[in-house]
C-alpha cells in the first residue's frame, strides 16, 4: 500500500503555485498591453499638443506709424494708380523707421541700423499695411497705431526654437536683434497675443511661417465635406434601402454586397489614382479643385455609409413594416414613412463618422493636385467648387515639407484644429446615438 500524498487546502503545492504564477503573469501581460496602447495614445496627443499649441500665440509689435504723404502718395491726389506705385519695399522702410523712432522714444539702447530693424518685422506686415492704406486712402498723412507680426525668428525665440547661439549663425537674425526684442518686450511694444490669423489667413510662402494660416484650407475642406454630404448621403441611403429591403437574394445582389465590403477596405491612395485617371484626365475637371476632392472622397465614403445604414435598417423590427403594409401602404410608403425615420439616428451617426474619416483623409488628395500652393480664397459655391483650394490634412503635409522649422509648429497647430473638428463631429454622432437610440 502506497502512502497517499498529503494534500492541504491551506498550503499550495509546487504545481499549483506554478499554475497560479502563470495565471498572474498572463493577466499582467494583458494589463501591460492595454497600458502600452493607452500610453501610445497619450504620448501621441502630448507630442502633437505641446508642439502645436504655440501656433495659437504669436508675437506682435505694436507701435505708432506716421503715413507720410510724400512717401506713400507722390501725387498727393489719392489716385489709386499712383498710390499703388508705393510697393511693399517702401512700406517696409516706413515700418522700420517707425519702429526705430519707437525704440528711441522708449529710450532703449541698440546698435542696430534701420535695415536690421526691417528684419525684425515679418515680411508679410508691409503688404498688410499697404492693403489697409490702399483700401482707406484717408489714412495717409495720419499717425496710426499698428500691430504687426514680428519676424518668424523673433517669434521662435519666445517659443524656444531660436536661441542666442543659433541666432549667431543665422543670417536672418542676430543676437542683437533678440536682445532688442527682450527690451521691446519689457517696454510692452512686443506682446504675445492670440493668433486669430492662424485660422483666417491663407498659406504664406516659404520664408514667412509667422504669417501662414489655415483660411483657404478650412474653406476647401468645408466645400469638400458639402460635396460628400450632398452626394454620399442620398446615394448611400438609396443603395442601402435597395439592398436591405428590396433586393432579391441572387448572384447579382451577392456580387454587389461583396463589392461594397471590399471597397471599404481598398487603400485610400487607390481612390486617388481613380480620381486622377477618371475625373481629371478623362472628364477634364480642374486640378486642386474641391469638386474633384469631394467626388473622390464621396466614392471612398459611400461604402462606409452603406454598411452602418444597412445595420440601422436591419434593426427596425419587421412588425413595423407589417403594420404599415397591413393598413395598405405601398412598399415605398412603408420605407419612407416608417422605416427610414426610425432608422434615421443610426444613419446619421454612420454618415457623420464617415464624413469625419473623409475629413482626415490625405493620400488621395495628394494625387489630384491639392498640394499646390494656393493663396487665393475660392469663390462662392457653386462656381467656387471649381476654383483651386487647399484642404486641412494636405496643408499639414505641405507644411511638414518646408525648410523653416516654424512650419512644424504650424503643422502641429493645424492638427489641433483638425482634431477639434473631428472631436466635434464624433461628439455629435455619440449624442445622436445616445439621444435617439431605441432598443426594440
Amino acid at each position: 500500500m502506497t502512502a497517499t500524498p498529503r494534500i492541504s487546502l491551506f498550503a499550495q503545492d509546487t504545481r499549483t503555485k506554478r499554475r497560479n504564477a502563470a495565471e498572474a503573469r498572463f493577466r499582467s501581460y494583458g494589463l501591460a498591453a492595454i497600458v502600452l496602447a493607452l500610453l501610445a495614445l497619450v504620448w501621441l496627443l502630448i507630442s502633437i499638443f505641446s508642439g502645436g499649441l504655440p501656433a495659437f500665440k504669436q508675437s506682435f509689435l505694436t507701435f505708432p506709424v506716421t503715413l507720410e504723404e510724400s512717401v506713400l502718395d507722390k501725387g498727393g491726389k489719392r489716385d489709386p494708380a499712383i498710390m499703388a506705385k508705393a510697393t511693399t519695399v517702401t512700406y517696409a522702410k516706413v515700418l522700420a523707421k517707425a519702429l526705430e523712432a519707437e525704440v528711441a522714444a522708449k529710450g532703449l539702447e541698440t546698435k542696430l541700423k534701420t535695415k536690421d530693424l526691417t528684419k525684425m518685422i515679418s515680411e508679410e506686415s508691409p503688404a498688410t499695411l499697404r492693403d489697409r492704406v490702399l483700401a482707406d486712402p484717408s489714412l495717409i498723412g495720419q499717425t496710426i497705431q499698428v500691430s504687426v507680426l514680428a519676424s518668424g525668428r523673433i517669434d521662435g525665440y519666445y517659443k524656444g526654437r531660436v536661441t542666442m547661439e543659433s541666432a549667431a549663425k543665422d543670417k536672418n537674425t542676430s543676437p542683437e536683434q533678440l536682445a532688442l526684442a527682450d527690451q521691446l518686450k519689457a517696454a510692452g511694444v512686443l506682446t504675445m497675443q492670440f493668433n486669430s490669423g492662424f485660422l483666417t489667413m491663407p498659406d504664406a510662402s516659404d520664408k514667412r511661417p509667422e504669417a501662414a494660416g489655415l483660411g483657404v484650407a478650412i474653406i476647401g475642406s468645408l466645400y469638400m465635406m458639402v460635396v460628400v454630404l450632398v452626394l454620399a448621403l442620398p446615394i448611400g441611403v438609396a443603395a442601402s434601402v435597395y439592398l436591405e429591403e428590396f433586393a432579391p437574394k441572387n448572384r447579382i445582389t451577392d456580387l454587389i454586397e461583396v463589392n461594397i465590403a471590399n471597397l471599404a477596405a481598398v487603400p485610400s491612395i487607390v481612390y486617388g489614382i481613380l480620381g486622377l485617371a477618371i475625373f481629371i484626365n478623362f472628364a477634364g475637371l480642374p486640378q486642386s479643385a474641391p469638386i474633384v476632392g469631394g467626388l473622390v472622397l464621396t466614392l471612398m465614403t459611400l461604402p462606409r455609409i452603406i454598411i452602418p445604414t444597412r445595420a440601422a435598417l436591419k434593426a427596425v423590427p419587421p412588425s413595423i413594416r407589417d403594420a404599415a403594409l397591413g393598413v395598405g401602404a405601398s412598399n415605398l410608403q412603408t420605407i419612407t414613412h416608417h422605416v427610414l425615420p426610425l432608422a434615421m439616428p443610426g444613419i446619421l451617426t454612420g454618415t457623420i463618422i464617415g464624413l469625419a474619416q473623409a475629413l482626415g483623409e490625405t493620400a488621395p488628395l495628394l494625387l489630384i493636385g491639392m498640394v499646390a500652393f494656393v493663396r487665393d480664397f475660392p469663390g462662392a459655391p457653386p462656381e467656387g467648387l471649381f476654383d483651386p483650394a487647399a484642404a486641412l490634412p494636405v496643408q499639414i503635409y505641405n507644411w511638414t515639407q518646408r525648410g523653416d522649422p516654424g512650419f512644424v509648429e504650424r503643422a502641429s497647430g493645424a492638427i489641433i484644429v483638425l482634431l477639434v473638428f473631428l472631436i466635434a463631429m464624433n461628439a455629435v454622432a455619440i449624442y445622436l446615438r445616445r439621444k435617439f437610440e431605441r432598443r426594440w
Binding site: 508642439g51 471597397l263 485617371a277 494625387l367
Partner: protein, 482 residues
Amino acid sequence: MSPGLLTLLILVLALAGYLIGRSRAVAQVAGDIRKLHSLPPFYGRITALLTAVPALLLVAAWLLAEPLFLESKALSLINPSEIPAGKSAALVMADVRRVADGLTALQARGDDLAPLLADPTKLKTALNDAGIVLETEPTVSTLAATQALRDAGKTSRLAMTAAALALAVAGLGFALSRITPEFRARNATERFAMWLLVGCSLIAVLTTVGIVASLLVESIHFFELYPATDFFFSANWTPKFGGGSSLGILPLLWGTLYVSAIALVVAVPIGLMSAIYLAEYASKSTRSWVKPAIEVLAGIPTIVYGLFALITVGPLLRDYFAEPLGLGNSSSSVMTAGLVMGIMVIPFVSSLSDDIINAVPQSLRDGSLGLGATPSETIRQVVIPAALPGIVGAILLAASRAIGETMIVVMGAGAAAQLSLNPFEAMTTVTVKIVSQLTGDTEFASPETLVAFALGLTLFALTLALNIIALVIVRKYREQYE
C-alpha cells in the same frame, strides 16, 4: 447655357410637371378623387420623375463623354509630321487644350481674338500675359485644332441644351398623355423609384469597375513602354525623368513588407493581449472606457501619425538607438514608420479579436473551468484555439491596412529604394512611390509616371487578396457557432 442653369431649368420643368400632372388627374374626375386609382400626388410625382430624370441623366452622360469626342476630332486635325520628336500626341493635345482655355480667358477679358489668331507670336505673348505659358509658338495645325475644339465645344453645348430640354418636354408630354383615372400612378412611381435605387447601388459596382479599368488601362500602356519582367523581377529602382530609368518593384515591395512586418510585430501582441484582457478579465466599467479609448487610435487621421513619426519618433530612434548602435543617422527609417504604423493598427487587431473572442460560446469556457483549469489555461487552450480562424482574419485585415497605408510611410520611412536588412535605414514603399511619381503630373506619357499605375495595380491586387482571404476565414468561422 451652362450646365448648372440647364439643370435648374429642368428642375423647374419637373416642378411644373408635378403641378400640372396632379391637377390634370383631379380635373379628369371632376374633383372626386375616389374615382382615381391612386392619390393625386402620385400623378404629379410620376410626371415630375419622367420629366427630370432622363433629361438629367442625359446631361451627365453628355458632360462625361464630351471631352473624348472633342479631342478625337481635334487630334485628327493635327498633322502627324508636325508633332516634334520626343513629344507624344497627348502632349500636343495638352497644348491645344491650354491654348483653347487661354483663348476663352482672353475673350472673357474683352480682347479681340482675330488679329491674335493670325499671328502665333502675338498670340503667345498675349497668352503669356493671361498667365498661360507655352513652350513653343503654336503651329498652324495646333491653331486649327484649337479652333475646331472651341467650335465643336460650342456646338456640343448647344446640342446638349437642345437635346436635354427636348427630352424633358417629351417626358412631360408622355406622362401627361398617360394620365387617366385608371392609370396606376402609384405602381408606376414605385417602379420608377425602384430603378433609381438599383442605379444607386450599382454605383458601388461602377466604382470598382472604374478602379480596375483605370489601373488596368494605364498599366497596359506602361507595360507597352517597359518590359513587365523587368518591372516585376528587377531589384533596381532608379527613375530618371530624362528616360533610360530602371523601374524594378522588388525594393519597393521589400520596403512595404518590412514596414508592415514591424507594424504587425508591434500591433499583434499588444492588440491581441488587450483584446483577451478586455474580453476575459476586465470589469464592465473598465471595459466601457478602455475599449473606446483604444478605438480612438483608429479614428485619428493618418496624417497625425505621419507628423508624430516625423517630429517625435524619428528623431528619438535616431538619437537613442540608431546613432549609439552605429546603425545609421537617418531619422526616417523602416523602424520609425513600422513602430508608428503598429500603434495605428492596434485597434484593428484588438476590436476584431475582441468581437471574435466574445463570440466563443460560454459553455466552452465553463467546461474548461469546471475541469479545474485556471482562466489563463482556459484562454490559451480552449478560447484561443476556438477563435483562431477569426483572429487570423483580423491580423490579415490589419496587414492589408498596413500595406496600403500611405501618409505614415511618406513622412516616416524615407524615399531611398533599397534592399537592406538594417531597420534603421531609410527605405521606401509602393505607396510612397505612387505619390512621388504622380504628384503634380498629369501627362501620362512617360514610363516614369505610368509606373505609378502598375504599382497601384499591384497594391490593389495585394490588398484585395488579403481582404478576401480574411473575409472568407472570418465567415467560415462565424458559421460554426450560429
